[in-house]
Every structure is written in C-alpha cells, then in structure tokens.
Amino acid sequence: MSINLNLSQVTIREKRLKSIVGYQGTIKDLAEQSQSGCLKNASRGFSQATNCNSGCAQGYLSSITDAAIVNHGPIGCAGDVAGANAGFQWGQRIRDWNQRNVRIINTNMSENAVVFGGDKILKEGILKAYERFNPKAIFVTTSCASGIIGDDIESTIRNVEAEIGIPVVPVFCEGFRSQIWASGFDAAFHAILSRIVKPAEKKRPELVNVINFAGSGRAVITEIFGRLGLVPQFGIPYSNIEEISRWSEAAATISICGTLGSYMGNGLEQNFGVPYVTALQPHGISGFDDWLTKLGETVGKEKEVEEYLAEQKILAAPELEEIKFKLKGKKVVVGMGPSFAHNYIRLLEDLGMEVVWGFSWHYDAKHDHGGCPSCTTELTKKDKDIPVSVSDQQNHEVINVLSKVKPDIFIGRHPGMSVWATKMGIPAIMVSDEYSAFGYQGTIEFGHRIIDALTNNSLAVNLSKRINLPYTEWWLEQDPFEFLKQKNKRKESENKKNVAVR
C-alpha cells in the first residue's frame, strides 16, 4: 500500500502491512503464509498487559531537540514520559550535551473534559507548550479518552497554529486503535513526513539518512561511512526540526530496525525520491554484510564496500571462531520485536547456537515496500526450520514455552521480559541498545556477552530457587498456546515436535 501523506492519520499496521499479534508455527510456515497472503491474526481467550502505540509515537518524537509535545489525555497517558526522559538523559549524555528534561505537556483531562469536550484544554496545552519551550514545532499526541469522546483535534490545531505560526501537528495514536504498538512509530513518522520534511532544494549525494533510536553507534558508522565517502545523518531522535526538514536531500535512507524504519524510509522514497535500503539489519556478520552491500549498491559504492568487508572479515575471523567454538550447540530462546527477533535468530544461529524458540511481539506480513520482511525470508533459506510464535509480550505463553524448552539462555529486548526467564533460573540478556551486535566488532562483543552470561548463572539460579511464579501448575502443564484461537492450529503432536524438550 502506498504511503499517502494527504491523510491526517496513518493507516494502522493491521490494515497496511497485514500485521498480526497471534500466531504459532514455524518460521518457514510464517513466511509462506504471509507471502501467499493467507496469514490471519489469531485472537486469545486470555491476555496480559502489553503496550500501546502512543508510547512509541510519543517516546520517539520527544527526543527531537527543538520540538515540544502536547499529550491530550488524562494524566496517566503521560505515565511513560518519565521513561522517555530517562532515555533522553542517556542520549544527551552520550553526546556530551548539557542535559535537560523532555518537553512534554499533558492536558490533564478530567471528568469534566470527558463530558463536555477537551478542545479548550487542548488549546491551552498547546499555548502553554509554545510559551514555555519556544519550540520550532509542536506534536499533539492523542489518547483513548480524546479519541472516544471525539474531540475535534484537527480544527483546534488549525486555529492555534494560525495564532502561533509554527507547525502544530497531530499524531493520532489512541491506544485502542491498533494492537501493534509499532503503529506509533508510523504515526510519528507520518507527522514528520507530512508536515516537517520539505522537498529538497539541492541533493547531497554523499548524505545517508540513518534511522535509529539513541544512536550509540554514531562514531563507528561515521568512520565506516567515511571510508566509503559517505556522511551519515542520524535521526530522528536528537535531530532538530530544521535538520529533519532536509532529510529529503539525502542520497539514501537506511535503518537499524526494519520495524522502525519501514514507514519513514518508504515515505521518503515514494514522496521525496530518496531510495530506501531494504536490507537485512546490520546485526551479526551476514546481516551487516547485506546492510552495507545494499547501501553500496544504492549509492554506487559497491567497490568500496567490498574492500572494506573483505578487510573486516580477515580481522575478525580468529575471534569469531573462538566465540563459535564456545557457543556451539547452546540452546537459546529469543523474544523481541519482529525485525530484531528475526535478525537475532539469524545472528545466533550464525554463532553456532541453536534457537529453540523465537517469539516476536508482532509480525508484519509485509513491509511498506511491498515485500515480506527480508530478515524473515532469509531465515527460510536455512535447512532447519525454527519454531516461532507471535504475541504481544504475552507472558503466560513465554513462561510456558520457557518451562518446556528449557534453553541455556534467553535473549530479549523489551523492558519487563528478560526478568521472567531469570526467575526461572535461565540467564538472560536484554539487548536494549540498538547497536548491540552491530557489524564485526559489535558481533564479537555480543558473543562475549553471551559467553559471560553463560559463565556465571548464579543470580538466575539463586532467584529461581526462592521465587514463586504467579502461574498455576495447571497452566504450566497446558499447551503454551491453549488460549490462541488459530484456525490452522498445529496439532499437539506437531507442537511436541517443535518444543524440543531436553
């Protein structure tokens, strides 16, 4: 589906990308079903707390340096702002900036506003944000409450915008609208693409947009790109409005995460003529090779990339061999967003580990360029099929699977997940930094991190001896997907085949 910037709202992932949060099977089956177009979302008769798209939208936009956010909803909808601020402090620190707090105002919607409408408090919030922060743009994020009572956000925004003379941009991210929290990234990018990015006045053939989060890998990428004669422009976090407005000048866009970058990258390509590199993600060796090679092909630097990779391969070979030797045959369960999950499954298999289960917190049957995600199709090329499931961090499924497959280690990426494996005596690693396992040196670092986690599991073992899980014995004896209403659900015997009990 092409990206239409004339619409005020982004089309949610369920409709745009046929994304799902309920599936159980194998990676080959998942890819096959999504390519044939028959992949259906399965619902659950029991569910646990997940996340919503507002968190992704608001958190991502809050680190634009000279913008402000007005969150239109009850005060709890800004509950994640403390987390956005913690992330923002870290991002400023790794840049050696003077630290300040995020600029987010919540309209503090009360019962009165719910009954009589919140347009007035929204206007006040926008004016307050303008007065307090003197921003170059204001993003207005919506909430379940504002969505249900039907506040006319767009007309309020138009009026205030005329008054204050800076872009005031709606970001529609009501929690109930999409089951897929990554729709919030799309909402943020839709706001940026439709109102902030301007058509290029001049093109800069050396410039490459790099879509990421905190951006800890800036120095490394700058160095690598420098060798290729390219200059990276990192964002969107820690960029300013003026810089973002000129993202159209770049020769290409590339992303650290397929889930994150799909909308922005393809939006820039379709609407501003900046090609988007739809490669594997640069985690692990084969991912990094593909990422850099496809970038080279896009901007005409094939030869330089080839030389650079050949050199790295020789440098890294001895250490990689040592890591593979130590990790060979270790069983691992992965639980991450779809792009990271499927990229890390490949990376861990490349390191010689055995991925006994892969959870992805959702799955996009296709990306905005039209094809099935490359990180998924890549996994289907392997001889071995890998058991996978899709759930929005449904803890009961994760714990049940972990208790049955008993991996040597759990590798996750989202807050509040790795801890559960640890409670079961399984050492865990949380990959919170998007540049972990980036490129050759990052992959070596990550390999050692896994080896360290396996070397001393005492915290996990001690916790598991003394801590009770909140699940009944009955539940732990059930099929992990008992509550998943999947039409072509695998039979118990097939499940047993996938759930390799040690």
């Binding site: 707390a49 005060i75 600029r103 919540n106 919607m109 929690g175 509040g416 909140p470 699940y471 009944t472």
Partner: protein, 442 residues
C-alpha cells in the same frame, strides 16, 4: 502562607491517573489486579510508579504478567464485557492468587461497560474478587488507591471480632511513594515497639489474611496529611473502628517521639512504656548525631536552605525534620500530590507548626514545569538543597544546588528497603543528604 496553582496542563508528571492504583493491589502479596483497559495503560503507569521510581520491578504478578483485556477498537465500539468475562474466567485457571481486583480504564468507563454486573457473578460463585472503576480521568492514583480500598471494604470484608492491640496502618502509598515498603517496615517496628501489633496489609510481610483482618483492628492509624483518611472514615462507618489521624510522616527524634506519645495515648498504653522506648531510640540517634556534628558544622559548603518538591506526606515529614531537628531553613515547599481542595487548608495548617515560628510557604501544584519556573525565581544565598524527584536534577545543576531524590519519579536511584521514617530513617536521610554534599567535594 500558601499559593495555589490551578494548573490545567501538567509537565514533568509526578503521579499518574486513578488506574495506577493497580500497583496498590500488587503491594499485597498474592493479590492480582485484572485490568480492563487499553493495551498501553499498564506499561505507561508502571513507568512512573515502578521502573522509573526507584526501579521497582514487576514482582510477583506485575508488569506483563498482569491479566489485561487490552481493549481494542472492537471493544470500544461493541462493548468490552464479553472480553472481560473471558479474561477473568481464565485468570482463575492461569494465575495463582488469593484476591483478585478488577480495575477499569478510560475506554471501559467512557463506553459504560457494566463491570459490576460481571464481577458480582464471580462473587456469587464464591470467588475472591472485587471491582473498582478507575478510569484515568477521575483523578490521581492516590485517589485510585483509596478507591481500591473502598472496593475491598464494600465488596469483600466481613465483620470480625475486635482483637485488642491490632492496628491497621494507612500511610505511604505503595509504589507512588518510592520508599513505601521500607516505610511500612519502619512504621511496623515503631508500632510494635509500643507493644501494639501492626496488621500488615502491604509490603514484604503482607498477606490477604491481613486484608481479611482489617475489621479486627482495635483502631486504624492514618499517618499522612490526607491520603488514607477516606479509608479510615469508611472503616469507621462500616465496622465502627475508631481511627487516629497523625498528619505528618514521623522522621527524626522530634516528630517520631511526638508520634509515639500520641499513638501511645490513643491506644491507652502506659506512658512509662512509651517513654522508655523513646529514651532508648533517642539515645541511639544522638550517639550517631554527635559523631556527625563536626561535619554538619565544619564542612566547607553546607546547605542552609532547602526546597522540597514532593507529595504532602514527604514534603511535610522531611521539612519538619530538617527544620525542627537539623536547623535548616525551609524555602518554598512544593506539594505535588494534587491534594484535593477540601484538604488543602489542613495541609497548610500543618506547615505552620514548625519550631521557632518558622512557617514555610506551601505551593500546591502537580505541574512540574510550573514548579521549575518558581524554583528558578527564588533568590537563595547559599547553595540550596533541592529534595525532589529526578525531574529536579536539571534545575539543580543549573542553580548549582545539591539534589536528592525523595519523591516519584526517582530514576536515578535504586531503592530497595530504604526508608527515611523514624529515628533510623532520619539517620539515613542525613547520610544521604550530606553524602551528596561530600560527593560534590571530591
């Protein structure tokens, strides 16, 4: 003196919405919240009340383990009661708990799901379950905390024979007050030292049995400017339990000794028992204070004045201690707990009862952006001490102030059992404040 800021919008939030009270349920061992709300509510509220507040984790059944309907467009359009019924039914099979509390969010409350009807059917089957409407627009999670307790009182508690000496303590609000579990342990120690028996409802020693025993108490003890009063009044109406309202968190010898005498008198305890406890505790406190006195007086850059940005509970407790015991001077005291208007004059009156006729100015505002503006306007001669949340770290750096995080959200400290309550808590607070000062030296 007081200033009241009737702010509509809020920056730098310090508490969350009514639904945040699911954390109060998690504070009772083996009690399980069931949240009927949108998919992001739990994650968002948990950020301010947990992960960015002393780094309090999910515990037994928090975070992603909380049963939740994750209401989608379908539930919003067609009603969410079927979904809720399904989730509750399966929760009883999947989750090992002793008490279940259904809490609603904005989606359910606005569209008007009849959650009461569903819950009553489970109650009729003998299930230990209550429900409470906590749509976020109703107010803060402090109000939500009281609403949860109301629900337990009305739908769950049964009359009991009174057990002399048993006391229910209503004070620090779980998870909102970062040091709540340590506070509860310290308050229990203080109450036990008088020969009374605390009924431990929240925290490491809690149980659903203690919840069942609430009507057994000889009296309810509210240690807080306002939160918990509604609960004590409700229990008085329903079970006739008398209550004592002690408005300040007892920190340091002056307040804690006064607290023990007040409780002792109310409970009818022999004053000589009380005085004996006080003497021992004060002797211990002053043993350490005597040793600290050189540094408290002779360090190069000592703070003379302090600003507090906190819930009324902590603002009052800490300000009283630093003023009455430590000889510091309170600058503006910012009270950020969205104190209901009805209670504000009582809270202000308590800020008028300091030693040496000192009466700090109190400002009521839950808008951290406004608080920050006001702090920047203050003219303070010495390096000030700012006792607030991690939001205040930026303004403290700008003003060259000392900063210690004492109120939510606290992202810059890992908090486990620490407490500033009582005699020992005061020593801890002195350690923390002056360690900030000393760390700035070297």
């Amino acid at each position: 003196m007081r200033t009241r800021k009737m702010s509509l919008c809020v920056e730098q939030i310090r508490h969350v919405c009514t639904l945040g009270a699911f954390e109060s349920v998690l504070a009772i061992k083996r009690a399980v919240p069931i949240v009927h709300a949108g998919p992001g509510c739990v994650a968002k509220l948990w950020t301010t009340l947990g992960s960015q507040n002393g780094h309090q984790g999910s515990g037994y059944v928090g975070g992603h383990a909380i049963p939740c309907t994750n209401a989608s467009e379908k539930e919003v359009v067609f009603g969410g009661t079927d979904r809720l019924r399904k989730v509750i039914t399966n929760t009883f099979d999947v989750i090992d708990g002793d008490l279940f509390v259904v809490l609603t969010g904005c989606t359910s409350d606005i569209i008007g799901d009849d959650v009461g009807e569903i819950t009553r059917k489970f109650q009729a089957q003998g299930k230990p379950i209550v429900y409470v409407e906590t749509g976020g627009f109703k107010g803060s999670n402090l109000i939500g905390h009281e609403l949860v307790l109301d629900a337990i009182i009305d739908q769950y508690l049964q009359p009991q024979q009174v057990e002399p000496g048993l006391v229910n303590i209503w004070s620090s609000v779980p998870y909102q007050n970062t040091f709540w579990s340590g506070d509860i342990e310290q308050l229990n120690l203080l109450i036990s030292s008088l020969g009374l028996k605390p009924n431990v409802i929240f925290g490491p020693d809690s149980s659903v049995d203690a919840v069942n025993d609430i009507p057994k108490a000889q009296f309810n003890l509210v240690i807080s400017p306002w939160v918990g009063l509604r609960t004590a009044e409700h229990l008085k109406d329903k079970f006739g339990t008398p209550f004592l309202h002690y408005p300040a968190l007892p920190i340091g010898p002056t307040e804690t000794s006064n607290f023990l005498r007040t409780v002792g008198e109310f409970a009818g305890i022999d004053p000589s028992v009380v005085e004996n406890v006080i003497r021992k505790q004060e002797d211990r406190y002053f043993y350490y204070l005597e040793r600290a006195a050189d540094t408290l007086l002779e360090t190069r850059l000592l703070p003379r004045r302090f600003i507090t940005v906190a819930d009324s509970l902590y603002a009052l407790g800490i300000a009283r201690f630093l003023t009455n015991d430590m000889g510091l001077i309170p600058e503006k005291q910012f009270i950020t707990d969205d104190t209901p208007t009805d209670y504000q004059s009582d809270v202000i009156a308590e800020f008028g009862k300091f030693t040496n006729d000192i009466a700090p100015e109190t400002v009521f505002s839950n808008d951290g952006g406004y608080v920050e503006e006001e702090i920047r306007k203050l003219k303070i001669r010495s390096r000030p001490l700012i006792l607030g949340s991690s939001w205040e770290r930026v303004v403290a750096r700008d003003l060259n102030a000392y900063q210690l995080s004492v109120s939510a959200p606290i992202g810059n400290e890992l908090v486990l059992s620490k407490s500033y309550v009582g005699y020992n808590g005061a020593l801890q607070l002195i350690e923390d404040i002056y360690s900030v000062v000393l760390n700035d030296f070297m």
